[in-house]
């Protein structure tokens, strides 16, 4: 298989769901309206760690509200994220509990006829709390021996005691690190810190649930995972799955915050079941912000290299502050080492990761799932090593990167496949040319108040979590393709589109395969009753895995179609081809070499119907058996105001190796968006908690959760994007993913540019103007590193030592 000319792939069409979105007609979960619908409100803890002594909902009930507390929900432990297999899924969640573990944790909910009444009812609930000591940083948490955040959690049926608030650990060793470091001519070691970024998807995660007369429920949730949500609801509420219907509705942004089934959905179901009427919950922003954030990681990274630039040994120790609950931190600890392992080749590796509970919002996946965090440290380290060895950054990377023919870990140590397409060299060479890498001056040459700097970083994201041998992570998609009697096509799948254009890509693949005009392919509304399982849209798997499955099914449906056509055209199936006939606005089937012998697809479908042959239809689950890396490279130019510490992004050159690009303008949009969020992570986004009250210092308001705006970002003129000319042999028509790869190297690239401007390596994100000013004052000569402020008593080394003594 190889690249060829496509009718639709690589061309832009207005997105199919776009009309509804530009006219305000798109229905998001918060817009679903049903007859007799109540409005639900969640009561959230004002305390970081407390137990409910008593709770009195009688006032609320008098107002006519339906109330639920921990007494009204099934007493079951579970995990909200069902992407990994059960044996690596720790369970510490309850729908509602009599114990709260963070400010903002839901502990009760009410529903009433109007939102105002519900809010008033919620305000009338009286609670007596028993306040427990709280742990707002990993140090306090790990020092604790009693009043732990969780006393025990479950792993399948096993009850696990928690010690020192440590949620889980993971280790990995390859080769012999001690021997490796002995071989090293240079060693670089640093501690890196990455921020607790809030997803800030524009729609707070909402949900609507309707109890059905048969005892089942229909749910319109904000989620990236329809079927996992259904399975969880079925399990928790003991409803047979054929009575749990989860409907696909467009979410107003996810960025990873919907891979798990947000507790809002489960509370919504419990409320609706108790109320016996549909209930809608739209959390306010102040509530949503306490529900999820990016995993913040603090880690040391030590890497050794030989004079010729060969990497000989590496050691990473990571501490992850996971907040109040486990959203599969075990899987996360796995990918941390996975991403590192797959960035640069190194025989001798040692890794240990620890996940620690604190009384803060639970951290979860956000675009990149640990890759931006790890790439920041690894890329910074690579540049430092290159500098020490007197090698060019690019040369050093080209020598050491994991590429063609090597093994890629697509989702931690258990998901591995061989790299079959590799555009890294092209990305680096072309990017360097476009940014003018050769004219880049060292920091020593920069003077004056405003200093320009050019930096770079590279990285990737996996395209899905498929692999020849299944690992810890589930990965397959189910789809149905049906050719209608007028030659149009229905595609039915529970795959989700988060806005990136996944479903349009699927439609293009189908149009291309069947040879029908693009606008003849429709994406059917989907729900869990009418579709088969799809793990969820995460891990940049939409186009590669989801599209791959849809394409596979389209091929099968085409076989049925051609079989019918062969009866009509009286030619063997293998002689038949299809192509779009744009004049007739139809697909046609023709005999290869005898093109006058042709018939439209509509005619085939009609003849098949009228002769009772059947419909050309196929449904099937499909798993991709590889996880190809979608590579990206970012070159960034910044200007640093050395007096105010303000960083302005002047220029970006972004290269992406996404295989065959299906939707060019949407793909560029992914890169712009990825850069924007990555630059935000690099320069300002973070959430902090008041150590006394346990509350967010931004009070949950966007007033003080700032993101870069249009005036803070470079123009299109100064933002070049390009795609590597590659073809992924295992991908649907040569495609790989793009989404998360568009962010992963960005924080590292921005930090690299700041270093080139100032001579200072920042190892903590975000790099605030306050830090830059301080670092410049401290710095004397030459290259310096500005390390995160360290508490001598709470070094990672010490924490790791402590663990050994447990």
């Amino acid at each position: 298989m190889e690249k060829r000319d496509y009718h639709y792939l690589g061309k832009d069409f207005p997105r199919k769901d776009g009309f509804a979105r530009v006219t305000g007609k798109e229905v998001y979960p918060s817009d679903v309206a049903l007859n007799g619908m109540f409005f639900g409100k969640i009561l959230r803890s004002p305390h970081p760690h407390a137990k409910i002594k008593s709770i009195d909902t009688s006032e609320a009930e008098k107002m006519g509200a339906v109330c639920i507390t921990y007494r009204d929900v099934p007493d079951k432990y579970f995990n909200v994220r069902l992407v990994s297999v059960p044996r690596s899924t720790y369970m510490d969640w309850q729908i509602l509990s009599n114990k709260v573990r963070q400010v903002g944790e839901p502990f009760a909910a009410v529903a009433a006829e109007t939102e105002e009444l519900a809010q008033r009812a919620a305000e009338s609930v009286k609670v007596e709390w028993e306040i427990l000591p709280s742990y707002l940083n990993t140090e306090d948490a790990m020092n604790a021996t009693e009043n732990l955040i969780h006393d025990h959690v479950y792993l399948e049926d096993e009850k696990i005691e928690i010690k020192n608030n440590i949620a889980c650990m993971r280790e990995l060793t390859e080769g012999d690190v001690t021997a490796g470091f002995k071989e090293a001519d240079v060693i670089v070691e640093n501690e890196f810190v990455t921020p607790r970024v809030y997803h800030c998807q524009l729609e707070p995660r909402s949900s609507v649930c309707k109890p059905e007369p048969d005892g089942g429920v229909t749910v319109w949730p904000s989620t990236q995972a329809l079927h996992n949500t259904r399975i969880l609801i079925g399990e928790l509420f003991d409803i047979p799955l054929n009575k749990v219907n989860v409907v696909r509705v467009t979410g107003g942004g996810h960025f990873g915050s919907g891979i798990h089934t947000n507790r809002v959905i489960l509370i919504n179901v419990a409320l609706a079941l108790k109320a016996g009427t549909p209930v809608k919950i739209i959390p306010d922003r102040e509530g949503d912000i306490y529900e999820h954030c990016r995993y913040p990681v603090r880690y040391t990274l030590k890497v050794g290299a030989k004079k010729d630039g060969t990497l000989v040994a590496g050691e990473m120790k990571a501490l992850v502050d996971i907040g109040s609950h486990h959203i599969q931190a075990f899987a996360f600890l796995g990918v941390l080492v996975g991403w590192w392992h797959s960035l640069y080749r190194c025989k001798n590796l040692k890794y240990k990761g620890i996940a620690v509970y604190t009384n803060k919002a639970p951290s979860c996946a956000m675009q990149g799932y640990g890759a931006p965090q790890v790439t920041f440290g690894v890329e910074t380290t690579m540049s430092m090593l290159a500098e020490k060895l007197g090698m060019d950054y690019l040369e050093f990377r080209l020598k050491n990167y994991v590429g063609l023919g090597e093994t890629f870990w697509g989702q931690g140590p258990t998901v591995r496949s061989t790299i079959r397409s590799d555009g890294v060299e092209e990305l680096i060479t072309r990017g360097a040319e476009l940014i003018g890498w050769n004219n880049r001056q060292p920091p020593e040459k920069k003077t004056g108040r405003y200093r320009r700097g050019i930096g770079m970083a590279r990285g990737f994201h996996t395209s899905g979590t498929g692999a020849p041998v299944p690992g810890e992570v589930k990965d397959y998609t189910t789809a149905m393709v049906k050719i209608n009697e007028d030659g149009s096509v229905d595609v039915l799948t529970s795959l989700m589109d988060q806005g990136g254009g996944t479903l349009d890509a699927a439609a293009k693949l189908v149009a291309e395969e069947l040879g029908v005009p693009f606008d003849k392919v429709g994406i059917s509304p989907a729900d869990t009753r009418s579709t088969g399982y799809d793990v969820c849209t995460h891990a940049t798997r939409g186009v590669y895995c989801g599209g791959g499955a849809v394409l596979e099914v389209a091929r099968k449906a085409k076989e049925v179609l051609l079989e019918y056509a062969s009866r009509i055209l009286e030619a063997p199936v293998h002689a038949l081809k299809t192509r779009p006939d744009l004049e007739r606005e139809q697909g046609e089937v023709y005999v290869d070499g005898m093109e006058e012998k042709s018939i439209t697809i509509a005619e085939v479908a009609q003849t098949a119907m009228n002769n009772d042959w059947g419909t050309a239809i196929f449904a099937k689950s499909h798993r991709m058996i590889a996880c190809p890396p979608a590579f990206t490279t970012f070159f960034v130019e910044v200007e640093v105001d050395t007096e105010t510490g303000r960083v302005t992004i002047e220029r970006v050159v972004a290269g992406s190796d996404a295989g065959v690009v299906i939707n060019p303008s949407l793909a560029r949009g992914q890169i712009h968006g990825g850069f924007y969020r990555g630059a935000g992570m690099a320069l300002l986004e973070d959430t902090h908690y008041d150590e006394k009250t346990g509350r967010l210092t931004n009070l949950g308001l966007l007033t003080d959760y700032k993101m870069l705006g249009p005036e803070d970002l470079p123009d299109e003129e100064h933002f070049q994007t390009f795609f590597a000319n590659t073809y992924e042999p295992t991908g649907p028509m040569g495609a790989k993913g793009i989404g998360e790869a568009a962010l992963n190297p960005v924080p590292a690239a921005v930090a690299s540019a700041i270093q080139n401007a100032t001579g200072i390596w920042f190892t903590k994100l975000p790099i605030l103007p306050e830090d830059i000013v301080k670092a410049l004052r401290q710095k004397k000569e030459g290259i310096a590193t500005f390390e995160p402020e360290k508490d001598k008593n709470h070094t990672i080394e010490r924490e790791f030592l402590k663990i050994r003594s447990f």
Binding site: K41, L43, R44, E115, H688, L699, M707, G709, E770, V773
Partner: protein, 301 residues
Amino acid sequence: MSSSRIITQDFDYIKAVSLGEALESLAKDGARVFAGGTDLLNKIKTARDNPKLLVDITGIEELKGFSFSEGCLLIGAAVRLSFLEDEKVITERYPALHEAIKSLGSVQIRNMATLAGNLCNASPIADTAPPLMVYDAEVEISRLHNTRIEKRIISLKDFFTGPGQTVLQKGEMVTGVRVPEPMASSGAAFGKIARVTMDLAKVNCAVWLKREEAVVAEARIAVGGAAPVPVRVEKVEKALAGMRPSSKRISQAAALVGENLSPISDVRSTAKYRTDTASVLIRDTFFPAWKRSGGEEITDE
């Protein structure tokens, strides 16, 4: 427990048609002036205020006045910021105020918010306060005495008494802001340091200069975000007065700002950063102000 989605507080609302009516209502317990509402509604939503009566003043004709005559700019309390930002008089004669307004919030916010509201809200980082202070603005305060409307005028620099606090007494409201016409050979500019472009300031400042030949005859400098209220920084003003500006001398003068400040650390920045950058900001703002006063380009000498 409150919510940004919905207001559960009960209050009454009146859309006053005359100043008399507004003032009468304001005398009631728990009454608040309601102008653009961009500050007030958020305070209500976050349960930081619990008014009984909102007196909407935006329909009062006599407060919609905007005039420039006899050397004085008069801005009624019901005038929205978006109206002001496009006014030629302001762009041309009061560029520092224009810059401050442009930097404030977004188009939507400025379509709703009023200038008087920005002042009465009395945030230490109110963006229009520093320029108005250096333009020597005054606020016109009205109240009802028996049935007569009484007015008093006070200088803006005496208006703020603390974060969120002003000299306004119960039953009083600001009816207008008066800004004298800047004298000849004077110039002013506004500066702001924030996390992103659309943001509240970490620090902001306005510099006003009166030039005589190549010398600063008089300087007025106001800084916001670095003390409980926007303040005039007299140390720097004095140091600049009589100076023949050079980069170095301006820096030296600006560096004195710390002595007039008492910033805090909060979610937006640190006290140290605020003090440090206040002097940078003053210096940066000095240059355009000087230029506008007709001054020659300043060299490094």
